[in-house]
Each structure stands twice: as structure tokens, then as C-alpha cells.
Symmetry: C2
Subunit: 144 residues, 2 copies
């Protein structure tokens, strides 16, 4: 469904969001341990999220990754997926034709469109904040 990079990106964002809720900046190492991901690779992904204004990062001692109140409220899952995996989720064809195209649809276009539209809607309405709150309550897990 999503690339590994995107999965790490989502998990990292949820962890950073949750820590930001209790006013904590987290280091790369913190993130990698919390979501059980390779640190150096995770670093690249966090850079991308940072450049896309999904999280912010501060250098130096007392530095680390965090999310401000505004970001916490406006960042949806879709923003992360788009930042990392691009628009393929939105306009890609289920059978790999150049682009999804109503006028010259692939044989599974109708079936796929329905599902993809729902996925899209889900991504665009689910906030990282809401997921972070559940995670904080211990209802969900970022590693196993």
C-alpha cells in the first residue's frame, strides 16, 4: 500500500505529535527507538517531513523534532503520504497504466476508483493529532 519510507514517516509523526502534546522535543534516536526503525534512514524521512512543514526540527543541544499546536491541528495523514509517496495514491491507475483516466479506463477502474476515493477521504480527514491522542492513551502501538 505505502512505501516503507511512508510507513516510517507516519509512525514517526504520530510519535512526535504525541510527545509534543506533553511538550517534549524528541531526538532522532528517540524516534527511531519508539517506532523501531533504522535511525539514519528515518533521519532522511524526517528531513522531508520537516521541509514540508509537517514537523519542525531544531539543531544543537536542546534541539530535536516537534510539532506546534497549529501543525498538530492541521496535519492530516494525507499530507504525510503526499510528502513522501507523492500523488500516486491520488491519480495512479490500479493496473499501472500511465495515469488513472476516466475516458480510457483500465478494466478495474470503476472498482478501484470507489476504493481509492474512500482511502483518499480517510487520509484527508484523519488528523495525526487524533491518532496521537489514542496512542497516548495506550489504545494503539507504534512497534511490536
Amino acid at each position: 500500500m505505502f512505501s516503507k519510507a511512508c510507513e516510517y514517516g507516519i509512525r514517526a509523526s504520530i510519535f512526535i505529535a504525541e510527545q509534543s502534546l506533553i511538550d517534549r522535543k524528541v531526538s532522532l534516536k528517540d524516534v527511531a527507538e519508539a517506532i523501531d526503525s533504522p535511525a539514519a534512514y528515518t533521519s532522511k524521512i524526517l528531513q522531508k517531513l520537516s521541509r514540508n512543514n509537517i514537523i519542525n526540527s531544531d539543531k544543537g543541544p536542546t534541539g530535536g523534532f516537534s510539532m506546534g499546536k497549529k501543525e498538530l491541528e492541521k496535519v492530516k495523514l494525507g499530507s504525510i503520504v503526499f510528502a513522501i509517496d507523492g500523488e500516486s495514491i491520488y491519480n495512479g491507475c490500479g493496473l499501472g497504466l500511465k495515469k488513472c483516466n476516466e475516458k480510457m479506463p483500465c478494466p478495474v477502474h470503476n472498482q478501484f476508483k470507489m476504493i481509492r476515493d474512500q482511502l483518499k477521504k480517510m487520509l484527508e480527514t484523519t488528523t495525526v493529532l487524533s491518532l496521537a491522542v489514542d496512542y497516548e492513551k495506550g489504545f494503539s502501538f507504534l512497534k511490536r
Copy 2:
């Protein structure tokens, strides 16, 4: 969503099904041209489909790939996806945890489960035959 191999596999199956409807066996070359895929790679995929009894293949002159009436009626999209991409569509976690697990769900489990269940249902109810019939009528395309 699916691997490239799986996309080729589905497109190939639809083409083979459609040609079988008018009692034609097709060669590897025919398939590769019809779906615009690399022939040698497509060959591997067709082998896998053949071993999974989704299509049949005959060697030698007058050989080629085809689907019998029984296969045409019983093969669903899901059979193809399972044969090529395995069970990850069914039990994989949306955020990349080892397995999807109700007891220790990832933060997006509920949202993903809903979408994945619908995808699953779609894959399990859509027959290759129905897609082949639409394709035959010119309602859909296998390449662009």
C-alpha cells in the same frame, strides 16, 4: 497498491480471458504486446499463474496461453493477487508492523481495516470474466 508483477498479471489474465472467449490461444508475444509489458518478465508471471491453475499453458506449435470455461467462471481478481503478491493484502499492517493485529493495533488500524476489507471484498467478488467481457466490448483498455 499492487506490485508491477501483479499489475501485469491481472492485465495479462484479462487479455487471455478475453481471447479465450473467442476460442483463441495466445502466445507470450501476443500477451506482451496486448498489455505493453516486457515479454521475458511477463513470461515469469504467466508461469506463476499457470502453476496456480489460473491460466493454462501449452508448449510447442499451436501452444500458448488460455483459460478454460471453468477457470473463466471461477477465477477472481483475488486469486491473481494472492498468487503473485501473496497474503500481504489480507493480513499486512498498513503501517508496516509485523502483522495486522486486533489486540495490539497500530494507530490507523480501524481506518485501514475498513478500507482493506472493502478491497478484499472487491477482489473476492470481481471475476476476470466480467472484466474480460467489458474489455471485449471496448469499454476498457489494457494499455495506453
